[in-house]
């Protein structure tokens, strides 16, 4: 077997082992390379930062366990920012029912850190299927979509919800999402009711939403673990995302290396065949 054939036929299990190592080793021996903050992350941070204590933010944690690795650090960072500034938060989770568990985990973690009380400082409304319908219904009145909160308390009995009727009473809505639900938020909540919308998405989806940044339909955008790490830097509370960035670096370099090896093999092979052909 010639060298280029070998280069083109590395067993995928070998690649798998290398990828695993590229993530595990940096976690054990972190380099902690600095993180640079991008403008779309900064815009969202600044928007929330300018809010006053007592203002209300609608945070929709529209992801589920499958995208939790990227989305959970964003959710926790934004909750930390709000709680530390005395901003009140209404939390929903509209993408998939499985998202309820992860949303509750993030919410209770941040609430405990800042000693925030359910019903006074935050409300967890929970999940309802048919996100578009729910988003529109909340534009009319939160009570329409959610007569009760996730824990079964009637909205009327929740002190924080007094005087809060619909999107007019919130300053910004931030959706952290692992699915295409942002379009629905932008089209219905932003489009129909004119609420400023900010978003955090998995890296894969981020490119899809630059169009909304450019057209002003999104205030800001966090993309993937890097976006989360940037936000952690802005709120000066480095955590899981920041730690994961080293593994991210290594794995990216390794994948680029794979592409290069594969292509060198491909071109050498093509040339060799070409010569034989003549």
């Amino acid at each position: 077997m010639s060298i280029y054939e070998k280069m083109m036929s590395i067993d995928r299990r070998v690649l798998f082992v290398l990828i695993a190592l590229s993530v595990v080793i940096p976690l054990l021996k972190p380099l902690l390379l600095p993180v640079n903050v991008t403008k779309e992350v900064k815009h969202l941070y600044e928007f929330v930062d300018k809010l006053k204590p007592g203002d209300v933010v609608l945070l929709s944690l529209d992801y589920d366990p499958s995208t939790m690795a990227e989305c959970q650090p964003m959710a926790i960072s934004i909750l930390r920012q709000c709680f530390s500034k005395g901003i009140k938060v209404i939390v929903t989770s509209l993408a998939r029912p499985e998202g309820l568990g992860t949303a509750e985990m993030a919410l209770t973690q941040a609430a405990q850190e800042y000693h925030k009380k359910n019903g006074n400082d935050y409300v967890f409304l929970g999940y309802k299927p048919n996100a578009a319908a729910v988003i529109l219904a909340m534009g009319e009145n939160f009570r329409l979509a959610f007569p009760n909160d996730y824990y079964g308390t009637s909205i009327e009995d929740i002190p924080m919800m007094k005087g809060i009727k619909n999107y007019r009473d919130i300053k910004i809505l931030v959706t952290i999402s692992g699915s295409g639900i942002i379009d629905t938020w932008v089209i219905y909540a932003g489009g129909r009711y004119g609420v400023p919308v900010g978003a955090g998405v998995t890296a894969v989806m981020a490119t899809d939403y630059y169009k909304y940044l450019q057209s002003g339909q999104l205030v800001g955008l966090l993309g993937g673990l890097k976006g989360a790490a940037e936000y952690e830097k802005l709120i000066k509370h480095p955590d899981m995302a920041t730690k994961g960035m080293d593994g991210q670096n290594m794995a990216h370099l390794l994948i680029v290396f794979f592409i290069i090896i594969g292509n060198i093999g491909y071109f050498l092979g093509k040339r060799a065949k070409g010569i034989k052909g003549r």
Binding site: D64, S66, R96, G178, S179, G180, Y193, G194, P196, T202
Partner: protein
């Protein structure tokens, strides 16, 4: 519009709070502060030019009040902290406060009113004193029957509807409509044939969306074609489903295809079943099917999310021929790298027309092409006007309000 108000509110805070902080600071340093504040015995000048009117384009029960800022808000002595809005049901009656805003804001919406009843309003500026504007009214709230802010949407919808109806009906009348060849669609027969030769089943994935998704509908149309070929070749078609309604419709589509092919008894309903409504449980399930059934050809047509690569890469490793098509832009790169043919966005919709040659589909592709031409013309025109300074208002014609 909303962001503008928000910004102004923020500015308002600064305007309101900085003088206040300065004032408190002066108070704190004693005598001199007392002297300072004693010169400020005058109330702020009142807001002027107050207007109240029924809020436009709303459901009713809402009145908008606008005013001109007090001369001491942001300018003058700059002492105003905010404004209170007061309402009464008669000019001489008692006024009650219905809301307040911070300094720098000159508009308020009162949404606690009844329709078709007279109301009077006044606005007062406040620092530690008040100064009231004159009374305005009577004004009534009512709901409107047409939202003038949305006229541009109406125009677009009407024009496009006319295009669709025109082209679909002319296609039905038998007018020949050309559609350019779509890569991959000519390979469908070959792919089905190959599976038959190998004696392995064909896997058809309708995507992970509901019946109301265009991608799902386009996929169902293509499924009909594929199922007919499968019936003719007497091979096996597996359709694991994500959505229960899509599943039931798919069952009917395939059944009808077998009927058309003249082999209704070969149809086996248990090959079109509900797998899971959980994305990764679904992906795991399909992976299992690909590896265990050793499918020869995999179709991924419809709406996809992150599972796209898991599916396409597993199929690739298994050595199946793969044809993909989706309007999920994010997933397209993965299909492009790991499938033999990939239909991009609208190309996928067009593929269902290309394969089926149904006039209703051909007609709407034609209408969409005309729609695109219209959009291109508008973009060129818009870019041209936007580049010429005093004509840039053209762009604002396309602003849709709430």
């Amino acid at each position: 519009m909303r962001t503008k108000i928000a910004e102004r509110r923020v500015e308002g805070v600064n305007r309101g709070i900085i003088p206040l902080v300065a004032f408190l600071f002066l108070l704190a340093i004693g005598g001199r502060a007392g002297a300072q504040s004693s010169t400020d015995t005058l109330p702020p000048s009142p807001p002027s030019e107050v207007t109240a009117f029924d809020t436009h384009n709303d459901a009713g029960k809402n009145i908008t009040i606008n005013w001109k800022l007090s001369a001491d808000d942001g300018t003058g002595r700059n002492t105003v902290k905010g404004y209170d809005i007061l309402r009464s049901e008669s000019r001489s009656g008692e006024f009650e406060m219905v809301g307040s805003v911070v300094a720098g804001i000159s508009t308020f919406q009162d949404d606690k009113v009844e329709n078709h009843r007279n109301y009077f309003y006044k606005v007062r500026a406040k620092d530690h004193r008040f100064s009231e504007s004159g009374i305005v009214g009577p004004v009534q709230a009512s709901g409107q029957w047409y939202n003038t802010n949305r006229t541009v949407v109406l125009i677009f919808v009407v024009i496009f509807t006319a295009l669709v109806i025109y082209f679909v009906s002319s296609a039905k009348k038998g007018k020949k409509l050309y559609i350019r060849p779509i890569p991959g669609m000519d390979a469908v027969d070959e792919a089905v044939g190959r599976a038959t030769e190998m004696g392995r089943p064909i896997l058809y994935i309708l995507g992970l969306s509901t019946i109301s998704d265009v991608a799902t509908l386009a996929s169902l149309t293509i499924l009909g074609r594929v199922a007919k070929k499968v019936a003719e070749f007497q091979s096996k078609l597996l359709v694991p489903c994500y959505d229960p309604i899509v599943m039931t419709v798919a069952q009917e589509v395939v059944k009808n295809a077998y009927l058309d092919a003249g082999r209704p008894d070969s149809y086996d309903e248990s090959n079109i079943w509900f797998l899971s409504q959980s994305q990764f449980a679904y992906a795991a399930g399909v992976n299992g099917i690909m590896l265990r059934e050793r499918t020869a050809t995999n179709f991924y047509l419809g709406m996809f999310y992150a599972e796209s690569l898991i599916l396409a890469e597993t199929g690739n490793i298994a050595g199946s021929i793969q044809i993909a098509g989706t309007d999920a832009v994010v997933q397209l790169p993965f299909f492009i790298t790991s499938c033999d043919y990939t239909l991009i966005g609208e190309e996928f919709y067009a593929a269902s027309a290309y394969l089926s040659r149904e006039p209703k589909l051909l007609g709407s592709i034609k209408a969409q092409d005309w729609g695109k031409m219209g959009l291109i013309a508008l973009i060129v025109l818009g870019g041209f006007f936007a580049s010429i300074h005093h004509l840039s208002g053209f762009v604002n014609l396309f602003t849709v309000g709430h």
